[in-house]
């Protein structure tokens, strides 16, 4: 549901940067999307085609680089993926761990035609 407003934000940011670069058309957007960001790439794609159609981003392609959620063990520094069941370190068994990645949600770059 909330992906619509997020998709509108992506469009706004992309159009602003395209204008600054004097671009005629946006052909591709490179997005980084972390597992802990709470955003579903497929839904963004669904709305994208709808809201971009009357802009210079019409027909552009969204590319998602997915960053998995990971944890880092404070005892042995081992970094491991979050599996949804346990947060214990699989290497040393300690449970003092911190989140180490997956919060990202940003527009990294756009590809344009001048």
């Amino acid at each position: 549901m909330h992906e619509l407003s997020i998709t509108e934000s992506i469009l706004k940011i992309a159009l602003r940067h395209a204008e600054q670069a004097n671009a005629k058309r946006i052909t591709r957007l490179n997005l980084v999307i972390g597992e802990l960001s709470g955003v579903v790439g497929e839904s963004v794609q669904f709305y994208w085609d709808m809201i971009a159609q009357d802009t210079i981003a019409a027909g552009s392609e969204l590319h998602f680089e997915h960053v998995p959620a990971s944890l880092r063990c404070l005892s042995c520094e081992h970094v491991f993926p979050m599996d949804g069941k346990s947060h214990k370190c699989p290497n040393c068994g300690q449970s003092r761990v911190v989140a180490a990645g997956g919060d990202d949600f940003r527009l990294e770059s756009i590809e344009v035609e001048e």
């Binding site: 509108e8 600054q20 671009a23 960001s37 709470g38 944890l71 947060h87 756009i110 590809e111 344009v112």
Partner: protein, 220 residues
Amino acid sequence: MKVPVVEQIMSANDQLAAANRARLDEAGVFALNVMASPGAGKTSLITRTVEALRDDLRIGAVDGDIATTIDADRIAALGVPTVQINTGGACHLDAAMLQNAFAQLRLKELDLLIIENVGNLVCPATFRLGEHRNVLIASVPEGDDKPYKYPVMYRGVDALVLNKIDVLQAFDFDVDYFQQGVEPLNPGLAFFPLSCKTGEGLDAWLDWLRREVIERREMR
């Protein structure tokens, strides 16, 4: 041609949230965003909190729901100004909705604004409103595995309430397993096991909130 952007996507909502925050600060209001899944006890904790603090603090409430005014009516019945936001299907409150609610409140006459978000363990985490603190209410019947299944929600909060501890035994809820799930996501998170029904544990929660409101006031 490739144009580097490197911009956080949430910026539109974040900017509005920052504007809300500035208005709250100017009016001297401490805003608390209450999030939880449906049925965890958001309205119950809010009514308990209002009853306990209304003699010391001037409290207002904003209540977000997909439909109906059932929750807002419960809070308004306690004699505090309450604004209902019906999101019309949307699964969370956003900064623009809160901004609209401000128009119906006399912010300068409040010390504490309690915002009840839409019952949902996923979406509200992504949308900042301009609040000073976020509290998540988990409840025993939901099960002790929720931090593992909904890590995003547990990550971005300042306090965690575990409600309905009066039924811990009936649900085989393992508090240690629950807390072990929370700790890596949000180290040192303030944790308040309580029961809105019996009142057990409420004092620690109320002390925390009172302290937060006072600290904010002294920072002005």
